[in-house]
Symmetry: D2
Subunit: 412 residues, 4 copies
């Protein structure tokens, strides 16, 4: 039972899924093994991740393992209706459409949970929020779940500190094969893909302000440099600020950076990182966007209250006219620019991330009985296994220690 | 009298033109001066450049100077119908629509020349070809023209060598403010914009083969490195090959590079740079595209004759299935990937290029009587003037020599 | 009571120490505080770190805190006799001279321990080795120690696993303000300083093989790329190999890389990383060097046994002639090329590392009673404190969370 | 008849020459051909180039061609006495020693010209200056000469404009195989080699001001970026300033850059680029050096007149104490930092430059009768020949046009 835009869009969605399938060899290999061993036979899974072609691949892999999978998105602007249609046409329960209202979005999440899952897969923590709060009944069979993002993990930790985490959750984001690649190379490239296709402006020579120098911020700054930009990093952490400094970037508080930036990208996981006081001193024509999970990093409320006029400047670009005549441009309504104004991470990146997801789900299915209601790391073996599959898929081989070297390293 | 797709698309085109207007300050300043001095009063101009928003700005600037401007595109896949509509709605004579057939394209060029221009503005040389060959009557009032591209200039030189050039032509491409910026930073960024939005594949870690290490190839290779690719350059010129080598790129003949590349980009100005013998040894899944002017660099004829199946793999991606099962992917039918699968060069880049164009047209109008039927460089003064306008628009200032330093440099 | 080369070299050493003092502002500030609070009053410290000007600064800071400091080096090729002389002339007990034999080096370590220290500062683990093995009597008053390097920490872990660690040791290397900066930016720059000044060869266009992609290897590879090299990384860890791949480097086993490299740099912490089988297939003229702690990474024994002639090719370059006529060049006898053929890490880098050392020593002095015989991390507060001192010394300021943002992040 | 420091240093010089010989394969191949064809039989050549090992190789190659070669340096701080000794011991007439006074330097030039050369090889133009001015008698048999540097060519052009050039001179510097490689990759690397080995300071995170964005400045800025610096470029040319801007560097007048720079490098060919007004606003501890031909770019006169104290801060570093307590550090007395504080360009770079020199000398010998007293470019054939030799020596092969492609390019 699905609630989507238009089932007739399925062929377009199917073409997109076929394309990414060709570029997700690790998941394909895992799916092949799952089809034989059926490690998720009879298990119900509720899945809330950006609803586009790569996520569809994950749904197929889980189904091949024997699971019943109920699918929704995690951001109303990143949902691609044709992909949703393809999944629905193929028998998945799918809830979600592009541009849903807040109420509709909430309903889609609840519909998805009505499967009463054993396992939830979250991207930002909305499913966990519902089963932990408004609708504990939907979590009555829940063994636990997996979380995809830095933001979601921060929310789980807060819940854990408050003694309110009731299920084991696995920090998929923190696996090496996830955050070292997805957050850095994935976000780095796809954020600029979103910005460039939306603005058609040159990056070389521009002053780009990157808020946050975590793995996502590092990737965004690295690619900005690769385009010939002059990069300014803002941070709240002293060590990360020094890293940015030594990587050749300027470092400044936002109150200083705001006045010199041409393009601003937020990736902090925090709210109101760019706000009233900053908008007031920005240059005419400044471009603003967000690569963090929630659309709270650039304060839209402040932008709106400061503006004398709000216009559509180009597809996915909103122009905010300030009383002094300056115009500021916000991309994709401040939502994740790589997904809301693009196709999200490249397929090969999600291949690694979703391989970790799929194997973590199986780990949870097999070990949930002995697990406590806390946040778990992905087992090192899963990380290493995915890395080795990726090396093999890429045709790379590496060294192994000789027996003599192993002895040397063990200090014998 | 225009021949376009649909005049109702004008509002969308107008929005696009407004967006680029905000990001083309040099041309705006020149247009402002033109409106006062009217240096092209009563002059007829036929303009054939990729018909999208930035080109529309050039048309407006020329009209502000007093000219009557007849507009067409120079590539059937780069024409944007909404921009054409906006120009037509605003009283320009416009001929061209997206996806025109070869015959229709030729007819659009001829229609455009029916204004019997004093000056032509060419991008690739098609207008010059017609007035020099099939329809000399359309050039009966012609004083000369300007050429935008490396490819077009090569064709003019061939014509000059053969004694068949009948008008003075100005090599706009060779101005510093054009080729150093447009061909390098413009092509570099927009080519990858086209590739990334079309494929949604990761560039980091990929082996990217760049054919040609001229200014365009340098820009494409530089940005590929900026994305974390492993770059292989192919060349026919020994000095350029050494530059690529010293820039840290691998250098190899195409017969070697073909077997290791994941993504191929051509920017040579030559034909059949990637052909039958290369397709035969490529890896499964190799992505092919072109950043050179004509769609002849990747041999489509060879691809087609080798294939057992040809499919649409994704929007703007054609899959060619080889008899051995490998599939090769050609983007945008081998046409300029940045224009046929994107929005072309960033606005600020075209601001410089079209400032050179506009000033070169005025130079030609004012000096054509003393000029010979040969290829002229853009006067150094125009180059320097545009560079200084750009510095000012960017808010940059630079040093000037002291009197003492001028004496020192003059050797006195 | 010192055992050094020549006390008359003190003025030259003093000049070197003055130069680094100007560039080590953090340690200077800490020293100023130490001079007031005297947190190490009456405490005896044995210090074994590369004996050059920056290390001398650490000795002065510890003395200012009230400690009695006995100093030696940790590598016979990195000891600078003039710096040793300056310290001795200034009343420190100093043992060590450049080019000491293995027996002399061992004697210098023992002499240094004869102070019967409360705390040892190790760089590679040689002091700990002596007090844990041959001469436990010299450690009879020992509270514990600090270890500077990855290699030394690996040795401590092996000892810990074997149940043979008798004192608390602090893993100074693992502090963020140490390994993120010292191992990456410090080793990266100084390794190439050593190679370039020793060889006077171009790096651009060369194929550089970096063995190991830990923090040191990352720094070396990053700078090689900065010089325009084509970099090949060898690894034994799948995740690190993938990171190298995504950073745009080639990845291969040493058996493959050996045949294509022009310059080889090892940074693995392991032995015989480049050995007989690799030397046999290297190109004529290949340059070999090591940036790891011990001179075991490039097998000198194998080089010697393979050679028909061994010559001095240039200062600090040994030429090994192979039977087939190829000549391989080993820099600085395979010892740390940045120290044995250069001046080691830049002063500002050691300023951070030694600030961590000095504060860790004080932490140990104040907390040793409650500490167990195991490996401890540097407290997060020390790391953050040093990072903030460094930001201040560099004139950089960063953001702080608003109260509202703190609430948001805590999930309330 | 030589005038050198000490003939006993010859063995050390010979070792240096042997080392570079192994790394200058192009010149070796040309020398081999010269030895057979003897194209300079009986011709006298006066050679004034930085007197170190690579230059010695050029002298040998010319002698192998049959020439009688008289050698001197072109900068008293770059002359290496052991190399001079090795050449003298091998029968060359050599004049010059390290640290000669201005009078001694002038005498060395004159002594070198006493051979009454047919051809002069200049680096900066001092030999030409003497035969054109004070001592025309020494040029009585002169056919012409070759000039190695941008600076020397500017002096020749000034002489040409003034109608005072009496011989044909070849602009070796302007050959592609010279300036594209020597000035960019050679100066880029060797300048930083000189700075790093002299200062032992970190470059990452520093603000580096590069004065001049010609080929040398481009190389210096590129490598500074490769080290993780934040780069500011100063320029007097608008187009070059825009290139620097688009390459991601900050652009500012020196009056602004002076206040923010940590390290300053001049490469302009002009005088007093950094002077009194700039010294007054520099940060304490600023490091100054020059990569241009003459020691006039950083005004030593201004530094001295502003200082209250001048000290030797480290080998090759002079400290200038300002009245307000700030101290500024000048490297290598403001002379070419790569030569006066290092070993100059890498051997492989000079291999290309000196191959151009040697072939240009032969061209002059064979064609001087038909040449006019003006500045000539190196023939394109020589450039292409050297590039192809270099590709072959590096083991690289490139593409050649098919017959079909040649037809296409010729426009037939």
């Amino acid at each position: 039972m699905s609630n989507i835009k238009n089932i007739a869009l399925a062929p377009s969605g199917r073409q997109k899924i076929e394309w990414v399938t060709k570029n997700m060899p690790i998941l394909a290999q895992i799916e092949g093994e799952f089809a034989k061993t059926r490690p998720l036979d009879g298990i119900r899974i509720a899945l809330s991740i950006h609803l586009e072609a790569k996520t569809a691949r994950l749904a197929y892999a889980l189904r091949a393992a024997g699971a019943e999978v109920s699918v929704t998105g995690c951001n109303v602007l990143s949902t691609q209706d044709d992909v949703a249609a393809a999944l629905a046409a193929d028998g998945f329960s799918v809830n979600g459409f592009h541009g849903a209202s807040d109420e509709e979005y909430m309903q889609h999440l609840i519909n998805t949970l009505e499967i009463k899952p054993h396992i939830i897969i979250d991207d930002g923590g909305d499913l966990l929020d519902i089963v932990s709060g408004a609708r504990p009944d939907l979590g009555e069979f829940l063994w636990g779940g997996c979380e995809e993002t830095t933001t979601g993990i921060a929310r789980i930790r807060a819940r854990e500190r408050a003694g309110e985490l009731k299920f084991p959750m696995i920090a998929v984001n923190d696996a090496d094969c996830k955050h070292l690649f997805d957050n850095r190379y994935g976000t780095g490239q796809s954020t600029w893909d979103g910005i460039n296709r939306t603005t058609n402006l040159i990056v070389a020579g521009k002053t780009v302000v990157v808020a946050g120098y975590g793995w996502c911020g590092k990737g965004i700054a690295m690619r900005a440099k690769g385009f010939g930009a002059n990069v300014v990093v803002t941070e709240i952490d002293a060590v990360k600020a020094l890293e940015a400094h030594m990587d050749g970037f300027a470092v400044a508080p936002m109150a200083v950076a705001a006045a010199v930036g041409d393009v601003f990208v937020t990736a902090t996981g925090c709210e109101n990182v760019i706000r009233r006081e900053h908008f007031k001193i920005m240059k005419n024509g400044a471009v603003l966007c967000n690569a963090g999970h929630f659309d709270v990093e650039v304060s839209k409320a402040d932008l709106e209250s400061l503006s004398v006029d709000i216009t559509s400047a180009r597809n996915n670009i909103t122009g905010y006219k300030m009383p002094d005549g300056r115009e500021l441009y916000l991309l994709a309504e401040g939502r994740l620019v790589n997904l809301a104004a693009g196709d999200g991470h490249p397929a090969e990146i999600m291949d690694m991330s979703f391989a970790i997801q799929a194997l973590s789900v199986v780990f949870l299915a097999q070990n949930h009985e002995g697990m406590k209601p806390k946040l778990y790391n992905v087992p090192r073996e899963i990380d290493d296994y995915v890395a080795r599959l990726k090396l093999a898929a890429t045709g790379l081989s590496i060294d192994t220690l000789t027996a003599e070297q192993e002895r040397y390293l063990s200090g014998e």
